[in-house]
């Protein structure tokens, strides 16, 4: 029984309670959020040496039925996501303080409480030891982020939030629930395997059913943004920017892809996926999402909408890499969970900073702003390099591994998709930075009043941006977890 896991899970929960209890005192409330996020980071950090030494931490909580338990575990794969979630929570807490206060947003207590609850769910997903625990926390994340998406409580907010919750709960109930029960009926357990190759299905299980289960799991975790169940994500753009940032970098979409890849590797296993030939078709299928979402992103003038479609496209890289079922492919996919998280949160933070300072949402209005906000747009430029996959930032490590993975899997088509999407990424990100620094202000707009974002926002932006660069220059820290996954 490793109580560290329980402590890590409970910190955000108690953070939520503290925030709700001290809701009327603004400073104390946000102090609690900060302390909780830092504590979580420390606890997760303290697990790193044990996990790197090859140990798997396990904490059993409840037994629902024989083979269906609520159990936490920390292995290399869960650490990838736990590190991302805990460190980004810390950064996001500081950023949202600056953002929400600058805009004098309403219902900040609810906002902070739900924020912490979403992290509670994400940490639970990261540390889940079986499909049931994962489903439990996955659903908690869905429910807790609803008030965040509907934060503005206007027509637009409710519509976006309705779409959000309808997509996520419907897919979870319609696909995930039967898949989970059928897996239980077929195997007698929902526990994940201890390595990525064997899976949990005994020999001789009906292959039609297993294939059906696989498809159900791919679509059931709709938070992964795989088309055609991706519409909730642009709809959720109505939320305040820190929420979008958190949603896109950690709490929601990463929960989706983490669950998908976890189930692919630890429930089905590479052996089963090879035997039933599930990997390569999946890679091509999500390849469609990669390309289509990039093309849609090109057409969006709203910065957040463009980032949203970029997220949809980037998430499918992760699934595509894992679906290649080669070691570099899986490594490239999983490391992208980290690289994309830090780069995308930087981008969203920048979008939020631009909005707070200038109230501008559209890319076409941002021409020439780079001179007034050099740090913000500088960070934006670096983070978009990571999205494109250029050295020396994190995204390059992903692309490198994915390219090797596709070559090793002898999939020329995947290679072409990767190259095409890189060009598309460049096409929709590069002009934003270019125009910001070298474009001209729209006629009639004068220079007055536009300065760099407040420090409370700028510092988190710069930290996230720095980490993005560090992930490219020193990739080994995160790569060691990824390599431990593939063995």
């Amino acid at each position: 029984m490793d109580y560290k896991l329980l402590i890590a899970l409970l910190i955000p929960l108690f953070g939520t309670l503290g925030v709700m209890y001290k809701g009327d005192n603004e400073n104390l409330r946000e102090g609690i959020s900060c302390v909780a996020s830092l504590l979580l980071l420390c606890v997760v950090g303290s697990m790193v040496p044990q996990v790197l030494a090859g140990k798997t931490l396990v904490f059993h909580m409840f037994t629902i039925l024989p083979g269906v338990t609520v159990t936490l575990r920390a292995d290399a794969m869960s650490m990838i996501f736990a590190i991302v979630a805990s460190s980004l929570w810390t950064i996001a807490v500081f950023y949202s303080m600056g953002y929400m206060r600058s805009l004098q947003e309403h219902a900040q207590t609810r906002f902070n409480a739900c924020f912490a609850l979403a992290i509670f769910g994400s940490i639970g997903v990261a540390f889940s030891d079986n499909l049931f625990t994962m489903y439990l926390f996955y659903e908690i994340v869905s429910i807790c982020t609803y008030p965040l998406v509907a934060h503005h409580q206007d027509e637009e907010g409710y519509n976006g939030a309705r779409k959000y919750i309808v997509y996520l709960t419907t897919t979870a109930k319609a696909f995930l629930l039967p898949a989970m029960i059928l897996i239980y009926v077929l195997t007698g357990t929902l526990d994940f395997a201890s390595n990525i190759s064997t899976g949990i299905f005994p020999a001789g299980v009906n292959s039609v059913l297993v294939t059906m289960l696989y498809v159900f799991c791919l679509f059931g975790f709709a938070k992964n943004g795989v088309m055609p169940f991706h519409h909730w994500l642009p709809g959720a753009m109505v939320a305040p920017t820190p929420v979008s940032a958190l949603l896109h970098a950690v709490a929601v979409v990463k929960v989706g892809v983490f669950c998908t890849t976890r189930v692919m590797l630890y429930t089905f296993g590479t052996d089963t996926m090879h035997a039933l030939n599930l990997g390569i078709p999946t890679a091509y299928f999500v390849g469609i999402t990669v390309l289509v979402a990039s093309i849609i992103a090109l057409s969006k003038d709203n910065l957040k909408a463009r980032l949203a479609y970029s997220t949809i496209s980037q998430l499918s890289y992760i699934i595509m890499g894992v679906a290649l079922l080669t070691d570099p492919g899986i490594q490239g996919g999983l490391i992208h969970i980290v690289n994309h998280a830090f780069a995308k949160i930087t981008l969203f933070f920048c979008a939020g900073a631009i909005y707070v300072v200038t109230r501008k949402k559209h890319i076409s209005e941002m021409e020439g702003l780079g001179k007034a906000m050099p740090f913000t747009f500088g960070a934006f430029a670096i983070a978009s390099l990571s999205m494109i996959g250029a050295p020396p930032v994190g995204g390059f490590i992903t692309k490198w591994n994915l390219l090797i993975g596709s070559v090793e899997a002898h999939q020329l088509g995947i290679l072409l998709i990767l190259i095409a999407s890189t060009m598309l990424n460049a096409a929709y990100f590069a002009p934003i930075t270019y125009k910001a620094f070298f474009g001209k202000r729209p006629a009639g707009e004068t220079d007055t009043g536009i300065k760099e974002a407040p420090l409370a926002m700028l510092i988190p932006i710069l930290i996230a941006c720095t980490i993005t660069v560090l992930l490219g220059i020193f990739p080994n820290f995160m790569l060691q977890f990824v390599k431990a996954v593939t063995g």
Binding site: L65, E155, I165, T170, K173, A174, P178, I181, V208
Partner: protein, 513 residues
Amino acid sequence: MDQLLMNSGFPILSALIFLPLIGAFVLLCIKNEAMCRNIALITTSLVGLLSIRLLFGFDTSTSKFQFVEHRSWIEAFNINYTLGIDGISILLVLLTTFIMPFCVLASWSYIKTRIQAFMICLLIMETAMIGVFVALDFVLFYVLWEAMLIPMYMLIGIWGGPRKIYASIKFFLYTLSGSILLLVGIIWLYTVNDHSFFIPDMMWQDYSLTSQIYLFVAFFLAFAIKVPMFPFHTWLPAAHVEAPTAGSVILASVLLKMGTYGFLRFALPITPEATVVLGPYVLWLSIAGIIYGGLTALAQSDMKKLIAYSSVGHMGFVTLGIFVLNVDGVEGAILQMINHGITTGALFLCVGMIYERTHSRELDSAAGIGKYMPVYITFLAFFSLSSFGFPGTNSFVGEFMILAGAFELSISQNQFPYLALAAIPGAVLAAAYMLRMLQKIIWGGANNPDQSWLTDINTREIITLAPFLFFVFWIGLGPQPFLNLIHTSVADLLQHFDIHQIKAVAATGAILQ
């Protein structure tokens, strides 16, 4: 009588039955309204506490009837006063005794007229309900089964809403017409069973398939109306909407369970071959109920109607679990009966609390109260999550087991699992209508009525709801103690089916030839 196990000198089941009746008699002599409330609360609480005693003497290793009491009643017809419980009924008895004190509490300020009569009705109701679950003599069972109708009829007809007369008569006629056929069945069984009304004697006998099918149809009509299964459900929304809070809670938590209990106690053991032959049709009827209940609930603007239709869907899951005839399915069904009793009972209590404040059950008039009643909303949110089977809550475990049972059925027959997959849209719909209701009540929209005058729930109301929440999470996260109670009886019930299944398949083959 080797099906019986006497394990206690103290006649606890009789005590549970007669204690509320004694309370009702005491109430007859009291005029003071405050005293009436207190006595009713004390009586129901005493019954509740006394019933906990059942857990301590209950032997989970046997499927025999326990705490048995046997006395001669009408010797001329060999009618006896025989009581006993087994794994199938123990949780239902406990559910009944658990619910009743909260029904009294929920009526504390809700009922303003004829309090004495109201409390008497509640207590007589409790006697009849406990009696139905513990009776082992068919006549005793039938008498108590019918006896439930009268106080319920009065609860709706006197203290109900605007259309109370219509609703109460509809309720009465529906359930009565169903039970007439039950009576015919009982008398037929009496004649072929050496003039005995002893229920365990009637089980697992070699009745011919034709007579089993007739009997099954009689049972089915009586119990399907009570459940209520689609398409026999139309009395339910009317009764729920018009009934006072306590009436709705009793109706949802206990009365609906009588039907499914009847299937388990009578239809399965007395007509096993007919069950196997006709079971598949009941399964698809259950699916129809699940989908229909979900779709209709989604369209409601009246909170009570919404929950009433959701009950049709949830009870569809229960009948689905019963007729898949495997351990997961039947255990899940029994657990789901308890879950539905707890969750839906609590939801009706919640709606009652709003109704007491706004005098409206419309969703629109309750829109946006989240801001002003945060404690209330927290309870409501958890019960709603439980109602649509959120993982970690009680209903999830029940649904999980029932669907697992449905999958097992298909896999054991080497079929594609159409049946279980057909029930899944019901689970989706449940999430849809519950979240829609929650969204409306917590936030509403741009045109919320002014709710700022509302006061949050008081201590009495918190005490009423808190125990329900406790069970939502206990069963949701640690259902094993509950499953242990029912496991042996269910396993024993189903073990007979392995034999009967083969016979029935052979018999249908013969009929077809």
